[in-house]
């Protein structure tokens, strides 16, 4: 695979704020046309990493390219071909939807601006609301506007920083359909999210904690990267049961999911021993395939010991 097949190809990217290393030697390769999910707890450095990719921050260490341009020296070129959707809504609340789009189109020097603005209004279903002020829009519509704005200059790479935070499930679903459509048309998308169902819709995933990349790959690869065994249990007095399980040898995490508990550990034998000790006929135990969330929590617990 040649270098140009990667939309993003960086190694050892590091960023420090004062004494704190916020992004620690991250390697990342994203193929063109791929939807790459970026996960990790708050403060793990996702936003900082994305900002380095799009030329908003200069890395303190590491090197690499974004769309073939050097992330350290060719920030100006990168900015022309990347659409970046910030975590916080960052368009002008006192301008209308159309005025915002028009402004962005002007800044990018989009050819045939009026048509481009019209196209993006139509495609995102915003044409009836084009005169509305951006500040009056609900979360879902703001997100649509932001997406429309970062697509207006036909970028080759979309960097979306928690685009679906605070957006209702239906709008989220539509948003993801749109993202898949864009990817099918050849756009590369790097997207950060906290939702597991969204993570599962990505072609590849990376998991970040405390600035360190803990795992990456396809969904299956990520699930297999931690040899985790998970059991679920249903029955009465789950809180007491959880308390009894925590701290037992072989039990690494006990997490409540509604009316069930997920109990996971890396060593199946020790986990089963631990479970046997608390087993009662009132509870129903089932072994399940570990989910992404189980894997991530396990990764993060491991990371806490190593880095925190």
């Amino acid at each position: 695979m040649s270098a140009t097949d990667f939309a993003i190809d960086v190694t050892g990217i590091t960023k420090r704020f004062g004494p704190k290393t916020v992004v620690n030697a991250i390697d990342l390769q994203v193929r063109r046309g791929e939807i790459y999910g970026f996960l990790g707890p708050n403060g793990s450095g996702k936003t900082t990493f994305i900002r380095m990719l799009c030329g908003l921050l200069t890395p303190d260490g590491g090197s690499g390219t974004c769309l073939g341009y050097d992330v350290r020296t060719q920030q100006a070129e990168i900015k022309c071909h990347v659409g970046y959707m910030t975590q916080k809504f960052s368009y002008y609340e006192d301008l209308s939807i159309r005025e915002n789009l028009d402004f962005i189109a002007r800044i990018y020097d989009v050819p045939d601006r009026a048509a481009a603005v019209e196209r993006s209004l139509v495609r995102l279903g915003l044409q009836n609301r084009s005169a509305q002020l951006a500040g009056q829009l609900s979360g879902g519509w703001k997100q649509r506007l932001a997406l429309a704005a970062c697509l207006i200059h036909s970028p080759q790479l979309l960097l979306l920083d928690e685009p679906t935070a605070g957006v209702d499930p239906k709008a989220r679903r539509e948003f993801w359909d749109e993202i898949h459509q864009l990817a099918a048309d050849g756009l590369t998308v790097l997207i950060t999210t906290h939702y597991m169902d969204e993570a599962e819709r990505c072609h590849r995933l990376a998991y970040l904690a405390y600035g360190n990349l803990l795992t990456r790959g396809t969904l299956t690869e990520v699930l297999q990267s931690v040899k985790l065994t998970t059991w679920t249990v249903t029955g009465p007095a789950l809180r007491d049961l959880a308390a009894a399980l925590r701290g037992r040898d072989g039990v690494e995490q006990v997490v409540a999911f509604g009316n069930t508990l997920h109990v996971s550990g890396r060593d199946p034998a020790r986990l089963e021993t631990a479970i046997a000790a608390v087993r009662t006929p009132n509870h129903e135990w089932t072994r399940i395939r570990s989910g992404l969330e189980d894997v991530f929590i396990s990764l993060m617990d491991g990371a806490k010991d190593n880095f925190a």
């Binding site: 970046y84 910030t86 368009y91």
Partner: protein
Amino acid sequence: MVLKEFIQMKRDRVTFGMMVGIPLMQLMMFGFAINSDPRHLPTAVLAADQGPFARTFIQALRTSDYFALVRETNSEAEAQRLLQVGDVQFVVNIPADFSRQLLRGERPSVLIEADATDPAATGPALAAVNALAGSIFNRDLPGPLARLHAKAGPVDFLIHAHYNPENITQYNVVPGLMGVVLTMTMVIITGLAITRERERGTMENLLATPVRPFEVMVGKILPYIAVGYIQVSLILLAAHFIFHVPMVGSLLLLYAMALLFIAANLAVGITFSTLAKNQLQAVQMAFFFFLPSILLSGFMFPFRGMPPWAQAIGSCLPNTHFLRIVRGILLKGNGLAEIAPEIWPLLLFLAVAMTIGVTRYRQTLD
């Protein structure tokens, strides 16, 4: 609630500093810098008579508190130019037959020409001049001439108040207001320009686009130049129709100079907005700049009444120079040549402020 406010106040160092700094600055300016009885005003003497009485007279002026003799000349034209440019506040004309008339007891006329654009600056000195005359020749006029004292004084002072013969304060204040209004609005508006983008989060977006710092600056400045011109025009209209301020000089020149001044203030505002962390800080910085621009520029109090340190600060402020330009053009009919000494400080100021603004403006969030 109160505690929370105090904690937040403590966190915002700049605001905290300003809260202490602004009263201190006001104290300094009102307490020490401002003097409504200006003395040692620069004066030129145009002496057509060099006789001993004339010398005594000049000597007396020299030792008086109000006049500082900076120039003796015998060219009428040069004296006029000094007055016009504002290098001197007064020209004292000693007539050719001063000594002879004095000896004959004819009460020679000494013409004092004053630059009366600012009546507050010239008033006290002119009031003092008559008192001065009475005492000058006490020793020099012996014997029979001593009787001259009994009368109105041995010398007759004619005062010619140039540029503002009726000593109308508005003639001085209204043109000065132009600089003050522009300083206030321009610095605050642009001071907020970039901090607002940062506070609302739109800055991150702007930085992620290929837009250049220069384009951002120009984009932020140009619309406000138009706003500034509207203000200038409004003040000129009011000056003409309401206050009947004379407009002797070229309005075109005035507008050209206003452009320079507006740009200088906008550059200050932009610089502030790159320094301020939030809008409140930007407003405070603007205020910090505005205060001396009113008090130390010669707008409210005569510039020459201030101690040297205050004059030095005043000389660094664009408003000080712009005031002189506006008053010069409107009241004195000054042209480009006469206002030239005030132009280069404005240019220098603009260049420095622009440089700081552009270098402080970051293209990244680093």
